[in-house]
């Protein structure tokens, strides 16, 4: 799975400018970088929800993909129905119940989803994404609105999805500790470009680029 010559500009601002980026099947990737570094633009361009400058799309190598945006729409129906939207595979209802129970939103199954809190909506959206059965998941800050306990539960679910389905997972996070816990590889972004990419342990302990080092030093207390 790879991206080649993907560029996105808004007016004169270059939001994304990537020559080449490859992903290995079955790995978890964490995209890290400051605000405005192009993380969301990259993942949205990959998901096809925004058009790149020349209309170029990510090559998923025929694999199915599902994207969980930063702002998830809660449709005006029950939480359970929201979770089951676009669900694929057998016993979707049973799996939905199990996932909602795991994330402790099972008591909200019949509640109207558009009345859920931000954290509850994020949990509902994560359950929905996990039922997609996609071979590639693109997650834009999936746990940003969740509390610490829910974040750890969500990470377990993401990890399990990766193992059980052999799925490739690309997620954006502002938490280096989350990247450390979850990701096989980290991708550092700056000004729409890939600054550095490599195995998580190596990148966090011994980055090549000075800018990555500087970024890591700033967040060193968190790792």
């Amino acid at each position: 799975m790879k991206i080649t010559n993907m560029k996105k500009t808004y007016g004169t601002k270059v939001a994304l400018d990537i020559d080449e980026l490859e992903f290995e099947d079955g790995k978890i990737y964490a995209i890290v970088g400051a605000n405005g570094s192009g993380k969301s633009t990259l993942i949205r361009a990959m998901a096809g929800t925004i058009k790149t400058d020349d209309g170029r799309k990510a090559d998923f190598g025929g694999k199915t993909h599902c994207y969980m945006p930063q702002k998830n729409h809660a449709f005006k129906m029950s939480t359970e129905k929201n979770v089951l939207l676009g669900a694929k595979g057998e016993d979707a209802k049973g799996k939905a119940s199990a996932l909602m129970k795991e994330l402790k939103i099972d008591s909200l199954a019949k509640a109207k989803a558009h009345r859920l809190s931000g954290g509850e909506t994020a949990k509902m959206a994560l359950c929905r994404t996990m039922l997609s059965g996609a071979q590639v998941l693109l997650l834009d800050e999936p746990t940003a609105a969740m509390d610490v306990e829910s974040t750890l539960l969500a990470e377990d679910i993401i990890r399990r999805y990766n193992k059980d389905n052999g799925a490739t997972i690309i997620l954006i996070t502002h938490s280096l500790s989350q990247a450390k816990r979850l990701a096989d590889e980290i991708i550092f972004m700056k000004d729409g470009k890939i600054l550095e990419k490599g195995e998580t342990g190596k990148i966090l302990s011994n980055p090549e680029k000075a800018e990555t080092k500087e970024f890591l030093e700033f967040f060193s207390s968190e790792i």
Partner: protein, 230 residues
């Protein structure tokens, strides 16, 4: 004034045939024009909200300008088109309820389209990002969008109905206020007032205000549902 009001109530209670005819013609015209405006305005508004193309903003501005078109101007344009010198004279629409409905559709459709466009522009970006991310097709996305907008659609229809029932300029020019044919409540009030028949004008005014009140109560309740649903 009290005498006029009592006489007006007596007229309503007496089931005056002319009064009944006026109410029937008014309701026929209003239901038709607001329904046609809804059927044209909602898809047009949705199209403006869901698509991006060169000239889209200009169309939105033009539509908003049409929202404030004076009814008499609309009536004048329709009158010219339907009259002996107009391009649509062969259709014989002048002084008919159909002609009045067409004039009202021209007035109401921009309002329906603008309401729809404004509402959908608020919810569509997030909704579409979610459905596209989930790989849902156009049909399912459209179905979900309609489901999200159901109260807004009903509310928009009633706003169109309220505009239609209160309109006088265009319908008087196109319809001519012919008794038992094209005379509607607003034109009848004008005619009876100019003839000094205040009790009959007041009777129609009471019916008009009652209908308007009912519609506005429903619009208000619907608006609350829309807000509550957010």
């Amino acid at each position: 004034m009290q005498n006029i009001f009592v006489k007006a109530i007596e007229l309503i209670a007496s089931h005056d045939p002319e009064l009944i005819s006026i109410v029937k013609i008014t309701l026929r015209m209003c239901f038709s024009s607001s329904l046609v405006a809804l059927l044209l305005g909602v898809p047009f508004g949705a199209f403006l909200a869901l698509t991006r193309f060169p000239g889209r903003r200009a169309i939105i501005v033009l539509n908003r300008t049409l929202m404030s078109m004076p009814p008499v101007v609309c009536g004048l344009i329709c009158y010219i088109m339907f009259s002996g010198v107009g391009s649509l004279r062969a259709l014989e629409l002048l002084y008919t309820v159909t002609g009045m409905v067409i004039a009202q559709v021209i007035l109401i459709t921009p309002i329906v389209a603008a309401n729809t466009e404004t509402f959908l522009s608020g919810i569509v970006p997030e909704l579409r990002e979610t459905t596209k991310g989930m790989g849902l097709g156009f049909g399912k996305t459209l179905g979900l969008t309609i489901l999200e907008s159901k109260y807004q659609i009903v509310s928009t229809y009633l706003v169109g109905f309220a505009r239609s029932i209160a309109e006088v300029g265009a319908v008087s020019m196109v319809g001519g206020a012919i008794v038992y044919k094209t005379n509607v409540m607003t034109t009848a009030i004008m005619n009876y007032t100019s003839r000094g028949n205040f009790s009959k004008a007041m009777a129609i005014g009471i019916i008009l205000m009652t209908l308007s009140l009912i519609v506005n109560i429903i619009v208000h309740l619907m608006s609350e549902r829309v807000v509550d649903d957010r």
